[in-house]
């Protein structure tokens, strides 16, 4: 039987019985990740026994360092829970980062795994060929107890990549191009493949996989090719790894060609990315009060590098605030050592500690009514980053950095004296 990537993984983790779209598969979950804010509502203190402490990770990311007493209490509960159940994969403040980034850089998500976490951008691990999706807090608590959950096998839409992206084009642009052209992918799996994959580094794959949640996809999957295996091997040198790809002849709901060379810098308008993004030229000149580079989608080292390159020796516009949030402590350390943080700070950026903070409008960088923000983070919903009367545009880190310089949405290709 020729299987799509998602069928292959779910089948392998549910006993091997053949599966097709629509079937329900009860799978062993290889890793359940719990995040800090889950400890504020959920009943971890009432759990009698967990299934397997080796299959649980706790990552402090959404509200750290605690901006309120309530969040401080959640942190305390998390530490007590980890100690009580012998959970050693515990990433507390200072060794932490946004959960999806931490799991990847620690080598805890690998090809063929089933991964659960109560954050909708868990699909990020699809970049390394893991069947990962966001699940609700109650369900993640259940998985911590039982080690299993169910999935309805989604139909798969495959993007057949060809060509090579132009200089400045980021995974964000590729994703916004897809969201603008094809719209929602509700309850589908989105799979990427084809010869153009060789031109897409892991950072871009991670951005694309992360953003799959924004078009409502259940899973966003990349195969485990050489580029992927090299990355995972460097993060998890002792893990047993093998290539993973969809079978030739697998059945797809649709196969769509995507020439990466046709993708240009994109900007999503406020509200949603679904059928709501266009080339940057359409929106250039829109004044911005705040610019944000960060989140699980675009707070990676490569994202900070490109922003530093654009901003080095220049100044953020006087009317604009630029906030930069490295996605993890490790990225913060690397960006510090490489001088990116100094470049950004000297240009007038405010650099925060790693956290989900500004992306979900919880702490450090909310926007006021009537303000306009351009963000490289995950979501541009109305009210997401603060007031429901603020406007949130979404673009790549390069476009956000260029816009911060100009004080208005800008086409990075038109900046003088900056090379890709």
């Amino acid at each position: 039987m020729a299987d799509t990537l998602i069928v292959k993984i779910l089948r392998n983790r549910s006993g091997g019985t053949p599966l097709q779209a629509g079937d329900i598969a009860v799978c062993d979950v290889d890793l359940a990740a719990i995040i800090d804010i889950q400890f504020s509502h959920d009943r971890f203190g009432d759990i009698t026994a967990i299934h397997d402490p080796d299959r649980v990770a706790i990552v402090m990311d959404h509200a750290v360092p605690a901006p309120s007493i309530r969040d401080a209490e959640s942190g305390k509960t998390a530490r007590a829970f980890a100690a009580a159940h012998g959970i050693t994969k515990f990433f507390d403040v200072g060794r932490h980062g946004i959960v999806h980034q931490v799991l990847a850089e620690q080598g805890l998500v690998r090809p063929g795994m089933v991964v659960a976490c109560t954050d909708s951008h868990t699909c990020a691990a699809g970049a390394v060929g893991a069947a990962a999706r966001g699940l609700g807090p109650a369900e993640v608590l259940q998985i911590v107890c039982t080690g299993r959950t169910w999935y309805q096998v989604p139909p798969t839409v495959r993007y057949e990549l060809t060509g090579a992206p132009h200089e400045w084009v980021n995974g964000k642009d590729v994703f916004l191009h897809v969201a603008a052209e094809y719209g929602a992918a509700t309850s589908q799996c989105v799979e990427f493949g084809g010869p153009g994959l060789d031109q897409l580094p892991m950072t871009d794959r991670r951005t694309i996989a992360t953003q799959g949640a924004e078009i409502g996809a259940d899973f966003t999957l990349f195969p485990a090719d050489d580029i992927c295996l090299d990355y995972v091997r460097s993060a998890a040198p002792d893990a047993e790894l093998s290539p993973l790809a969809a079978d030739r002849g697998a059945e797809y709901a649709d196969v769509r060609p995507l020439d990466l060379g046709r993708v240009s810098p994109m900007v999503a308008r406020p509200g949603t990315v679904i059928n709501n993004a266009g080339p940057v030229e359409q929106l250039a000149g829109t004044r911005v009060d705040q610019a944000f580079i960060g989140s699980c989608a675009n707070g990676q080292l490569a994202d900070l590098e490109v922003a530093a390159r654009i901003l080095r020796g220049r100044q953020v516009a006087a009317t604009t605030r630029l906030i930069v949030t490295p996605a993890s402590q490790r990225i913060y350390q690397q960006a510090s050592r490489l001088g990116y943080l100094a470049d950004l700070a000297e240009a007038g950026a405010t650099i925060t500690n790693p956290t989900c903070g500004a992306c979900f409008g919880y702490h450090m960088g909310l926007v006021a009514a009537g303000e306009t923000c351009i963000t490289a983070s995950t979501r541009n919903f109305r009210g997401r980053m603060g007031s429901p009367d603020a406007s949130i545009f979404m673009a790549s880190p390069a476009t956000v950095a260029a816009s911060a310089l100009q004080g208005a949405i800008a086409d990075v290709r038109e900046l003088e004296g900056i090379r890709p």
Partner: protein
């Protein structure tokens, strides 16, 4: 617990997202207070109008967005069940897992006007608009999901199996 509920309908649009239903700032509030901010962007003031037993009807892609436990806020306000033309799958799972009735009816907004009295039955998948007499037959929930809803959600199930001690303070 009954698998069938009848109540007054509230109509919402397409792509209503979780950040609208449960804004980030409300995540730092106790549930009862957080619930007063539901739909803060698209329909501010709605929580003051809803009555226990009411039913919320959404359009396409209902609940797009995050995993935050929105069903707890609906339950806090006494909402008895949800109908949508299409649910986001994460949101749908959340409803079931917190014991909130949810039924997919692809032409829901053609059958229901705001204020109509609507009966929905997740066991049979049948929706009846008692105000107009219109009916729809949806695909009923699979048995194992009906069991979760009937138990009141995952937590009561985990309590029954001994994996979770009875709620201490919640």
């Amino acid at each position: 617990m009954s698998m069938s509920v009848t109540g007054r309908a509230w109509i919402f649009g397409d792509e209503v997202n979780t950040d609208d239903m449960y804004p980030g700032f409300a995540m730092r509030l106790p549930m009862a207070e957080a619930a007063t901010h539901m739909f803060h962007a698209s329909r501010p003031g709605w929580p003051a109008l809803v009555r226990p037993g009411d039913i919320v009807v959404g359009g396409r892609n209902f609940g797009l967005g995050s995993s935050r436990p929105v069903p707890l806020l609906f339950k806090e306000l006494g909402v008895a069940g949800l109908v949508a033309e299409e649910f986001n799958s994460l949101f749908f799972r959340n409803c079931i897992n917190y014991g909130l009735l949810a039924l997919t009816v692809p032409d829901a907004r053609e059958l229901i006007t705001e204020g109509d009295q609507v009966c929905l039955d997740t066991e049979t998948g049948r929706l009846v608009n008692e105000t107009t007499g219109a009916t729809a037959q949806a695909v009923p929930l699979p048995g194992f999901l009906r069991e979760i809803v009937a138990a009141g959600g995952i937590f009561p199930q985990l309590e029954a199996s001994g994996r979770l001690r009875p709620a201490t303070e919640h």
